[in-house]
């Protein structure tokens, strides 16, 4: 028994270090003065910390504008995805209807669909529709990608809230809408918030479609990819950019930790 415990904790320690160490190192790099980053012998622990590297990144042309673009795109994506997918999630939780299995299967297929394939034809179509190089265009693609995730979380949230409570409110004189708004919805808020937060990460992190679909109105990942490919951005820009992009993830995964298994748990059977 003791051998087994040592094995478990040993393995957890090794794997935990493997995941955590690179995150700590990029944070370290982001706050290491530029000249030390290029020194040899390179010290493992910098002699001094400075905001110099981060400020260089944040003051680079386009970084603020594209960060703002990223946030706007993520906001639009959350709005669109909820408008479109939340009713579906509710229907899948509360009703039994012919074709339900087909709807669930098509949502699962969408989750597995190679998104790269969408970007090129949509770019061509968006030029015709006047959506090319617009934030709403990018948000539309991100919405398509996030619909499966929003649907599964919303479904699991409403499955978890007993319909009998809604009924009880109705016997006490509420109408159906009021019962939903006053009884069910408040209980659903944490789960719905998790879905919104995950949608934010998905959009914030998406690189390929954003790169293809924008030109002047870059999102942050699109700007960084572009500066790496066509401008050969210096290393300290890349480290600071990497750290800046990772930061929200650490907080966000913590906030939605309860729903991680729901997000990915549905399988092909």
């Amino acid at each position: 028994m003791r051998v087994r415990l040592v094995g478990i904790y040993g393995a957890a320690l090794v794997i935990g270090t493997w995941v955590a160490a690179p995150l700590l190192l990029i944070a370290l790099a982001a706050f290491t003065p530029r000249n030390i980053l290029y020194e040899w012998p390179r010290p493992l622990w910098p002699r001094a910390f400075s905001l110099d590297t981060m400020l260089f990144f944040l003051r680079s042309t386009g970084v603020w504008a594209s960060t703002l673009n990223s946030v706007v795109v993520a906001g639009l994506t959350i709005g669109l995805a909820f408008l479109i997918a939340a009713p579906t999630g509710y229907a899948l939780a509360r009703y039994r209807f012919r074709g339900k299995g087909a709807v669930q299967l098509s949502i699962l297929v969408v989750k597995m669909f190679p998104a790269t394939v969408l970007s090129i034809p949509l770019a061509v179509a968006f030029i015709r529709w006047g959506l090319y190089d617009t934030l709403i265009g990018v948000a539309i693609v991100h919405t398509a990608l996030s619909i499966p995730f929003v649907t599964v979380i919303v479904t699991s949230v409403f499955v978890g809230i007993s319909y009998e409570l809604e009924e009880a409110a109705m016997t006490l004189g509420s109408n159906r809408l009021r019962a939903f708004l006053r009884v069910t919805l408040p209980m659903a808020v944490p789960g719905l918030a998790a879905a919104a937060i995950f949608t934010f990460v998905l959009s914030w992190n998406e690189v390929f479609a954003a790169t293809i679909l924008t030109l002047d109105h870059r999102t942050l990942p699109a700007l960084i990819v572009d500066s790496v490919i066509s401008a050969g951005a210096p290393l300290h820009f890349r480290f600071a950019g990497g750290f800046f992009m990772v930061m929200p993830a650490v907080v966000i995964i913590f906030l939605i930790r309860r729903y991680l298994l729901t997000l990915w748990g549905v399988t092909v059977r």
Binding site: W40, L118, I120, V225, R238, V250, L261, W264
Partner: protein
Amino acid sequence: MAIADAEALTGVTRARVNWTPYLLVLPTLAFLSVFFIYPMAQAISLAVTDPPTGALTWAHFRRMSSDLYFGQAVRFTLIITAIAVPLQVALGLAIALLVNTRFRGHTVFLYLTALPIGISDLAAGMIWLSILTERGYLNAALQRLGLIEQPVVFLTLERPEWLLAAIILTELWRATAIVMVILLAGLQLIPKDYAETAAVFGAGRWQTARHVILPLLRPSLQTALIIRTILAFQLFATVVTLAGRQIPVLAGETYFWYSLYRSPSVASAYAVLILLLSASITWIYLYVLAPKAGEVRL
């Protein structure tokens, strides 16, 4: 709850069709047809038609396959996938089994190992670049240990196998988390009595894992394999940050043909190729690796 609730909710008799759920589902289906089915059809049509005349042609596929980067892109994409995905599944399974022992502190461990789910391929590329670049942490550590005097250049075309290793390492670090979460969700669906029964009948821990848990975990393993393989075919930002175009990959070539050579048609040909590869690998996983008749499905 479903039947009783549905009736309670609708207040109609069983004989009439209730349209409410269909109305609720409609926006999703409409949106997905416009932004999934239409572009998919459009990608195929772009790839096989001549832009001005609209006539059918194989010219874009010929142009794609005669390009110098094409053979390499196919080869590198398949190599990276074939090495990275099995490693991700193995490590993901190990982590999921570890979490499932519910040792003290397993929730913190789960959160930590799930963290990379929120990290983009682009950021992961930057993170590992800070480790593997010439003046990076790996060289700094090797020098501190006295193993090297001068920095080793890991990320160079002169050593393509090191470039590949760097990409695979980064993908292993970043994408194992998704596999782990899928498998953990699957593990938690398996009733505890199964393992207990196996133990009662004298099965050891290893035998239980091999003959009871793994077969029951097959649907989750299948899903994890499909999702990871399809995502590996789309590998882009990790490669761009670590290797540029020195290691060409399919999604990268799609990008270059669209943005650099301004040819949506050849880019679409690449997109269609990725689509075909993804569809065939899904088919293989679902039907070739399907459980044989008589096997238990949970």
